[in-house]
């Protein structure tokens, strides 16, 4: 399989009272052509910053300290901004968190798509309009011809997110990043938008990075799962392995803390004791060790490397033991 996108040793930091705090720490992963990858983790785990870094939308005072991001074989981070602009929105594009604020409030929605189309081609105004109307139709907006002239405040959240998707797909993206793309929407709309992304991705053979804190969404949508905790990748593998046999204690705890009313409504929701560490106060050794019920002295002494254990990568010293204990239970 060819890797469309690969991230190598990415580190991102923010300013803190003691100099700079690393919020994304030595992150590496890759997405293969046509695969859908779910990046999950709590808020503050560095998911969204990772997404912004892929688009080079990280702005001072946040900064990328180290690492490479390869789109195909080109290192995006070392490219001239002028050159990267031709790639951004064209080969790699993004769907944003809150559709209500992601669009220019005083510009007609169709015009916002046209703007993007005219960057990629030298279509005339009328041609671009026709293409934009097609895009609106392909993301399932009824009466696209009329909707072209609507302003964002005249449309609902679900419709706006479709417009945002249309903008993201107006180039010929190979990689689509969906950063909490359905979080701001209500549940039924969420499902429709997700199905739409799924369908469009399949039609165009897109690779998708779906960033979400919603494990249900990630499980339903992804081929592979990346689990992030406190800026580090703690476990990654295929969706089946991660969800049916999590090895890393954090992944396991995260799965256990889901509330699933379909199983037992009286069952209390389990939560993970303690708080995720603040970026300027990360524990030594394994970042999860202070909250981990399986932690041993070595866990806080040194950082566990990401190792291939039981058909997935995981960063835990006790992965092998815990896997076998899990098997026994």
């Amino acid at each position: 399989m060819t890797k469309v996108l690969s991230v190598k040793n990415l580190s991102i930091s923010v300013p803190s009272s003691q100099g700079r705090a690393t919020v994304v720490d030595d992150l590496s992963f890759a997405i293969e052509a046509g695969k859908k990858v779910g990046l999950v983790g709590e808020s503050g785990s560095g998911k969204s910053l990772t997404a912004l870094a892929l688009m080079r939308l990280i702005k001072s005072p946040v900064q990328i300290d180290a690492g490479q991001i390869f789109l195909g074989d080109r290192n995006v981070l070392s490219m001239d901004m002028q050159d990267f602009r031709h790639i951004r929105g064209n080969e790699i594009s993004m769907i944003y968190q809150d559709p209500m604020s992601a669009l220019n409030p005083i510009m007609r929605v169709g015009q916002q798509i046209v703007e993007s189309i005219q960057l990629q081609s030298n279509a005339t105004g009328r041609q671009a309009r026709a293409i934009a109307v097609d895009h609106l139709a392909s993301v399932g907006i009824p009466e696209p011809e009329r909707r072209f002239d609507s302003y964002p405040f005249e449309m609902s959240g679900g419709m706006l997110q479709r417009v945002v998707i249309a903008i993201a797909l107006s180039g010929e993206p190979k990689v689509l990043i969906a950063d909490e793309a359905t979080t701001a929407l209500d549940v039924t709309t969420q499902d429709r938008v997700l199905t739409l992304i799924d369908k469009l991705a399949a039609e165009r053979g897109l690779s998708v990075l779906l960033i979400t804190h919603d494990l249900g969404v990630a499980a339903q949508f992804s081929d592979d799962i990346l689990v992030m905790y406190a800026g580090k990748l703690v476990e990654c593998g295929s969706v089946n392995q991660i969800f049916s046999q999590p090895v890393h204690p954090y992944t396991k705890a995260l799965l256990d803390s889901r509330c699933d009313y379909t199983i037992d409504i009286t069952k209390p929701i389990k939560s993970i004791a303690g708080q995720p560490p603040r970026p300027d106060n990360r524990p030594s050794g394994c970042v999860f060790s202070p909250r981990c019920e399986h932690a041993q002295p070595q866990c806080s002494a040194s950082v566990p490397p990401l190792e291939f254990i039981q058909d997935r990568y995981t960063a835990c010293f006790r992965a092998e033991d815990l896997f076998h204990i899990g098997q026994v239970n």
């Binding site: 031709h86 929105g89 604020s101 220019n104 510009m107 903008i167």
Partner: protein, 323 residues
């Protein structure tokens, strides 16, 4: 849009009516007597003669009656006659209006041009060297009074370099070149006072817009910085700034009095000073009405302008957006 216009027009009319009453009443409450002022202190007058004069000017009638007849006449374009020169107020005022309008126009033009250049420069790198220099400049402009700027300009450009005249007025229709030459220094004086407000306001507004997610979306499309600035950041920053600009125009219209006085321009401002010193009720009323009306009119026009830029403002109440 029609409802929006009607609503704005109605509220403007109410404000105008209330201001007129306020001006009328407050002038009557001031100490001093226009008849005495007109006759001059030296003249010996009998109480009978005074009474006759007051009657002639209609000053002995009840206040309310005076107010209503004044409003009635004003609606017919008759603002009464000056107690002093006996000339119609409407005529005197309308002779002065073009001067003030021309001066205000140039002042605002200067302010807009500077704001559109300086604010984007300033927000390009917030906190950078250019931003700091512009910040110092606008602080100075805000704190130095207009007349000081005027005096410096006169000293340098009229007295030292003798490039431009320092006083006087020639109508544009008589001698356009001389008219413009006479306008340059007063316009720069006013412009330098108005510019800092507009620059700072636009800068703050642009910085806020720059943080919004839709600007990030625009960047994510791969648009150039210039296009993002002109199509996304500036238009959105303009909405709040236009309201501010409307106020600045209003203040300039009524506040150019010092500049007019300093440069000997026969505008509304200098007329106001003259009539106030003479206690010419009819003139003060006429001038106040003109200033108030022009203030309200500019705010009204700028409201409409905002509505043109921002579709959300055109939305009529009850006309719910479609979902």
């Amino acid at each position: 849009m029609r409802k929006f216009l009607i609503r704005r027009a109605a509220s403007s009319a109410i404000v105008l009516a209330m201001s007129v009453v306020l001006v009328f009443v407050s002038i009557r409450l001031l100490p001093g007597d226009p008849v005495l002022a007109k006759l001059g202190a030296a003249t010996e007058v009998t109480p009978e003669a005074l009474k006759a004069l007051r009657e002639e000017a209609g000053l002995n009638r009840p206040l309310l009656a005076q107010l209503f007849s004044w409003i009635w006449n004003a609606l017919h374009g008759d603002l009464g006659s000056s107690y002093h020169s006996q000339l119609p107020v409407a005529q005197l005022v309308s002779e002065r209006i073009p001067v003030t309008l021309e001066l205000t126009f140039f002042i605002i033009l200067i302010a807009i041009i500077f704001a559109l250049i300086l604010a984007p420069l300033s927000t390009h790198r917030p906190g950078g060297r250019v931003d700091r220099i512009i910040g110092y400049g606008t602080s100075m402009g805000l704190s130095v009074p207009g007349f000081v700027i005027g005096i410096i300009l006169i000293l340098v450009f009229s007295l030292r370099l003798a490039w431009l005249p320092s006083r006087g007025y020639v109508p544009f229709t008589e001698d356009p070149v001389e008219n413009l030459k006479l306008m340059i220094l007063p316009a720069i004086t006013g412009g330098l006072t108005a510019t800092p407000y507009l620059v700072r306001y636009l800068r703050a507004s642009m910085l806020e817009i720059k943080q919004s997610s839709f600007v990030r979306t625009a960047e994510g499309k791969g648009l150039s910085d210039r296009r993002i600035l002109f199509r996304h950041i500036l238009p959105n920053s303009l909405v709040p700034t236009l309201t501010m600009l409307g106020l600045i125009v209003g203040y300039t219209l009524s506040g150019v009095l010092v500049i007019e006085y300093m440069f000997g321009l026969p505008g509304i401002g200098s007329l106001a000073i003259e009539s106030a010193t003479k206690r010419d009720y009819a003139m003060i009323q006429g001038v106040s009405l003109t200033i108030i009306a022009s203030f309200i009119l500019t705010t009204f026009l700028f409201d409409i302008l905002c509505g043109l830029v921002d579709p959300r403002l055109r939305l009529d109440k009850g006309e719910k957006s479609e979902v």
